[in-house]
């Protein structure tokens, strides 16, 4: 639901689900009584934003991640660890240990890869991954071997690079194939970013590309 209210400059502003805004107590009571807002931090508020996450979980790839409980606990996400990317849940956040993450980002990415649009019934995204910032290109990263392998596939290294540190994936035949390819390249010693790009090249998936900096822009619900 949307809320329209006047800001301190007298402008009528539309607030969306998850936004924070300041109101006087009387107005807050009105909005609460009409169900237009909920008190954040409560279970029903979380569920309203992210829905049912019982089929979802987090695979932490690598060792040394100390924030697992913090990241997974807020939305009661299952979690496990592994050496390489895999899909242990119907919807999995593949999270490289040490990569920046917040509980909200973890959950929101999972929401993005729901299997269908509940309102329209259309099939949904199979995966979501963010572009790496500052216009990073494949020619700028990785070893000479990594670059040579990617160049052989694509024919050009002036490619945008995805951020493999956090990838949200729903299990399907296509994504199983892509993740297997990705893990295989990593086992062969290919650098993280090039492995992800090459896996995508060979195994197309219905991929929601998130803008660079997306992980930094979530506002607490």
């Amino acid at each position: 639901m949307l809320v329209r209210d006047w800001d301190e400059h007298g402008q009528l502003v539309t607030y969306h689900k998850g936004d924070w805004f300041r109101v006087v107590k009387r107005r807050a009571r009105e909005l609460l009584e009409t169900g237009q807002v909920k008190i954040p931090g409560t279970e029903d508020a979380r569920e309203a934003v992210v829905g049912d996450l019982s089929d979802a979980g987090v695979l932490i790839v690598g060792e040394g991640e100390k924030r697992t409980t913090e990241i997974c606990g807020r939305y009661h996400l299952q979690h496990t660890t592994g050496e390489f990317p895999a899909l242990p849940y119907d919807r999995t956040l593949i999270w490289i240990a040490g990569f920046p993450m917040t509980p909200q980002r973890a959950a929101l990415g999972i929401v993005r890869v729901a299997d269908s649009d509940k309102e329209n019934g259309y099939p949904g995204w199979e995966a979501a991954a963010m572009l790496r910032g500052a216009g990073t290109l494949a020619k700028d990263i990785g070893s000479a071997e990594d670059k040579a392998g990617t160049l052989e596939l694509f024919g050009d290294l002036r490619l945008a690079v995805y951020e493999p540190g956090a990838v949200w994936i729903r299990k399907t035949r296509s994504t199983n194939a892509m993740v297997e390819a990705w893990a295989g390249l990593l086992r062969d010693g290919v650098g993280s970013e090039h492995a992800f790009l090459r896996a995508l090249y060979a195994k197309p998936i219905i991929l929601c590309t998130l803008p660079e900096g997306w992980l930094a822009s979530w506002i607490e619900a």
């Binding site: 539309t14 290109l137 060979a202 197309p204 803008p211």
Partner: protein, 197 residues
Amino acid sequence: MAVGAKAAVETRLAIQALRRYHRDWPVIVAGDRRVEGGRWKEFLDTKGGRVARWAKTNLNKLSPFDQTLFMDADTRVYADVEIGFRLLSNGWDMVMVPSLPQGGDFLWHCTEAEREATLIDIPIDPLQLNTGVMWFRKCTRVDRFFAEWRRQWLRYRDMDQGAFVRALNRRPLALFTLSKHFNGGAIVGHRFGACVG
């Protein structure tokens, strides 16, 4: 696409630039006039908006090819652009490049009403994609996407990129994102605004 004299000039130059790297690729020019170097396909329908915008949402119907590279008239090829076709051959539905404006400048060129409606439609910060360079293939999923794009464009009958983002949210595609070098960079230049007026 060539609608109007300025666009026709730009299209002729765009075809010449393309031919330096891809001599044998067939070229179709959709619009209101013939352009040297391309086979003309007349398209005059506006649906109450601009011909070129509505035409873009009909590209899947206009193109006779199994795999198509669409380019705005004001683009210039400076290097081999076969990469998009390689990706389509591997099974990707579409290949595109993000727009320069993102975040707070998302859909800056649309009306406030359309921008707001788009942000309401999409649950998380969307990536704006530039529709000036697009590779796409013929398949059911892509056809359904274009039908949704037309439906979304008819809501405001103005720019096409807001409609594109809304359509993509409803009809997700296997869409591969290339770097800005492929639209407004070293491989494909984009003379934004050269066809306007």
